[in-house]
């Protein structure tokens, strides 16, 4: 720093380096400084108005009583109110009309489908997969293989009441031997390819009769009524693999199912095929079940 100041009149601070680099004192204009200090003063008002100072277990609440979550809820409320206002007519129709009437109306059907996607993602997708693609041991909704019926009414009923799959182990009377179980399984598999009447499956066919399987699954593997029994005559299988090994063959899967049944409380290792009732689970279930029934119906296999 130079002792001698060769530029006494230019308003420098006296800090001079390398002969001629000097620090000048050029304060901002007064109005600018006033605005700057006014900014500091505003801190007081902000601190009083908004939650600001952390305390040991809490914080100052501020005079405005503002919270981020309240602001969020308010915004969300506005969105909801807008939705209710904009789609009041459609929502009212969903509430009053029967689900078959909703399905028959092109516009209402489109509305129901478009407003169902989030609900389906939240409540159905975990088991049934996105778009009803299904998951191992959870039914595909996009095909026309419905155990409990594929009309929109039946789909609605499934959601309202829930569905509990029930199949006794080792035939209806529980009297099939291990050998007969295998024969029935082979016969059932043959039914799905249309080979059930071939002579090599005669024993299985007899065991099928002995186990009274046809009471539910129908005489040739086709259930006569949608009572929850799966259609054995098509190539769509309700269960995949065996517990612990999803890659096991379809035959092994059939053998396991026949041996242990479905939903048999006293049989250890029995298969579970349960869907809970969504009457209580879904918010605003009156409307939303109808909405979802229409959505599921149009996934690809509604009848």
């Amino acid at each position: 720093m130079a002792q001698h100041n060769p530029w006494p009149d230019e308003g420098n601070t006296g800090h001079i380096w390398d002969e001629d680099i000097r620090e000048l004192d050029n304060p901002p204009p007064l109005w600018w400084m006033l605005a700057f200090y006014a900014g500091f003063v505003m801190i007081i008002f902000y601190a009083l108005y908004y939650p600001a100072i952390p305390l040991a277990n809490s914080h100052t609440k501020g005079l405005a009583g503002w919270t981020a979550i309240e602001e969020y809820k308010e915004g969300k409320g506005q969105l909801e109110a807008w939705r209710q206002r904009t789609f009041a007519a459609e929502e009212e129709q969903l509430r009053t009309l029967d689900v078959t009437e909703i399905l028959a109306d092109d516009n209402l059907r489109a509305y129901a489908v478009n407003t169902s996607k989030v609900l389906f993602g939240d409540y159905c997708m975990a088991c049934h997969g996105w778009g009803g693609a299904g998951n191992p041991n959870f039914p595909i909704l996009a095909n026309d293989d419905w155990q409990w019926g594929g009309t929109v009414k039946q789909i609605e009923a499934a959601m309202i009441n829930g569905r509990v799959g029930n199949m006794p182990a080792r035939g209806m009377m529980g009297n099939l031997t291990d050998e007969e179980v295998v024969q029935v399984a082979e016969y059932s598999l043959a039914l799905s390819t249309g080979d059930g009447d071939k002579p090599e499956y005669a024993a299985g066919k007899a065991a099928y009769a002995k186990g009274m399987c046809m009471a539910c699954h129908g005489p040739a593997g086709k259930p006569v009524a949608p009572i929850g029994a799966s259609n054995l005559a098509d190539g769509i299988f309700r269960f995949a693999g065996v517990p612990g090994n999803l890659q096991a063959s379809t035959l092994d899967s059939y053998i396991y199912t026949i041996k242990y049944g479905v939903g048999q409380k006293h049989v250890e290792g029995t298969r579970i095929a349960e869907m809970p009732s969504f009457k209580e689970r879904l918010p605003d279930a009156d409307v939303n079940i109808k909405r979802l029934a229409v959505y599921v119906h149009q996934l690809g296999g509604g009848q």
């Binding site: 092109d106 059907r109 489109a110 997969g129 996105w130 778009g131 009803g132 693609a133 299904g134 595909i140 996009a142 095909n143 026309d144 293989d145 259609n231 098509d234 190539g235 769509i236 149009q298 996934l299 690809g300 296999g301």
Partner: protein
């Protein structure tokens, strides 16, 4: 003017000047180009005189083109606004034409066409846009016309400006500013009226229900118009506008521009009766009356040569011709002329200049593409979204089913009854959930299921054609190629 130390233009020192191939010594008009430091007008507001003449008349005719801006929004066509850029619904209406975002490439052709039109006109006749058509030039012209009507001729205005503010000055100034503000407001308002229904916009404004965006756009445009046309004036052309710079660079030695004929005009001066014994000085045709400077809206002196402050409006030509007529000398001391004319070279006809040929061919291509696009605009646009979750499902009857969503965009002004057909396999069965009635400018959605027996789909995917036909007008057909997926 004739300073022996002046830095004269030296060919080959600068590279790539238009004058490199011109014998600048052939003419003093050329010899002096670029000699002076071309001045910007810095003496406050330019108060230009207004005279009559053919360029003045042409300027008014060109300016009247902009009346369309103000009346355009009120034109109706089939009961709705004829020209409407409906951003909210993503539709552009131009009379019977509705352009959806799918066809927006045509806008690029329009822009290309006009960009090249600017280039071509500049190559031929300099800054034609700047001088006659540019909205800034036109608005400034109208603003100063109003100023003259209210405050009087330039001398009076300069005197008034110099006076301190008083009630009488205020009384003169106020109507002018009110008129300016009215025009500025209508400019902003008319602009916004192209984006929403003009009559409803009036209604909303008069009941104080304008949306914030509308209000902001009208306000900003009005304020900018008021400031630029009322106060900034020629400074916008010189300091802000990129086009004036670009166009200045697009002229060449064959471009005609307002030029002062120095060979004929110099030495300038007023002819005086010679005193006895003295010889009358030899003077050029310029009598140094400064009319060309006085009428210039940008305040430049054209006698210093063509310069960047010149917007080539031709008003100096009008003024000079009037004087030449009075002093009984031939007109055209200032005239539209090209550098080559002064260099003694003949100007080739317009259609034999390479730049003009290139520019106009590109313009022709752009115009042709636009016309082709407009006449072949597909009335319907079909897109098919293949459902990918699940990719396919097996049905009870042993068929494989794929699901699709068919989106039909209606680009016509009539309702389209969209019916779906599917081709691609002999044993293919399809179920469309509806025949969709698609309103004009909207998108209809049809849910489509396609089934093929599993035994017949060997490969894991095969192409299928989804054809949508308008039942109301069966010539309207569009097809979309999609795929059918099957298990491996």
């Amino acid at each position: 003017m004739a300073d022996p130390n002046k830095e004269i233009y030296r060919p080959k020192i600068h590279t790539g000047s238009v004058l490199d191939d011109v014998d600048v010594k052939a003419s003093r008009t050329l010899d002096d180009i670029g000699v002076e430091i071309l001045p910007l007008h810095t003496g406050g507001t330019v108060h230009a005189k207004r005279t009559g003449g053919k360029f003045r008349t042409f300027k008014w005719l060109a300016a009247s083109f902009w009346i369309i801006l103000f009346i355009g929004p009120y034109m109706r066509w089939d009961g709705s606004q004829a020209i409407l850029w409906d951003l909210a619904n993503r539709q552009f209406h131009i009379f019977s034409l509705t352009i959806l975002p799918q066809d927006i490439w045509m806008l690029a052709m329009i822009l290309l066409f006009f960009a090249l039109l600017l280039a071509a006109s500049t190559a031929i006749a300099g800054r034609v846009w700047c001088g006659y058509f540019c909205f800034h030039t036109v608005w400034v012209d109208v603003f100063t016309w109003i100023e003259e009507k209210i405050e009087g001729r330039p001398a009076k205005r300069i005197k008034l400006d110099a006076e301190p503010m008083s009630f009488s000055k205020f009384k003169i100034k106020l109507p002018k500013h009110l008129a300016w503000i009215a025009i500025a407001f209508m400019t902003g308002f008319s602009f916004v009226a192209y984006f929403t229904d003009a009559f409803q916009l009036w209604e909303r404004m008069l009941s104080f229900q304008l949306g914030s965006v509308e209000l902001a756009v009208i306000g900003v445009l009005a304020v900018l118009t008021y400031l630029t046309a009322g106060f900034m004036r020629e400074q916008v052309c010189m300091g802000f506008c990129p086009y004036s710079r670009i166009q200045g660079a697009m002229t060449d030695t064959e471009t005609v521009m307002p030029t002062y004929d120095r060979d004929r005009g110099e030495p300038r001066g007023r002819a005086k009766r010679p005193k006895p014994g003295e010889e009358a000085p030899v003077l050029g045709d310029c009598i140094d009356c400064r009319m060309c400077v006085d009428v210039c809206p940008t305040g430049v002196d054209i006698r210093l040569g063509q310069q960047f402050g010149c917007i080539t409006c031709g008003l100096c030509i009008d003024a000079c011709d009037e004087i030449m007529e009075k002093v009984k000398k031939p007109k055209g001391l200032i005239r539209y002329a090209a550098i080559n004319e002064f260099a003694g070279k003949a100007l080739p006809p317009i259609w034999r200049r390479p730049r003009v040929i290139v520019y106009s061919s590109i313009m022709a291509i752009a115009a042709a593409a636009m016309i082709w696009g407009l006449s072949n605009m597909a009335p319907m646009d079909v897109t098919v979204l293949k459902d990918r979750s699940p990719l396919f499902v097996q049905m009870s009857d042993g068929t494989i089913q794929n699901k699709y969503e068919v989106k039909v965009v209606n680009k016509t002004n009539e309702v389209i009854r969209a019916q779906v057909e599917v081709f691609g396999h002999d044993n293919l069965v399809y179920i469309a959930d509806r025949v969709a009635d698609v309103a004009p400018g909207t998108v209809g959605t049809i849910s489509l299921l396609v089934r093929i027996p599993r035994s017949e789909v060997g490969t894991d995917s095969l192409p299928i054609d989804i054809v949508v036909t308008d039942q109301a007008n069966p010539q309207v057909v569009d097809r979309y190629r999609s795929v059918f997926h099957a298990p491996k």
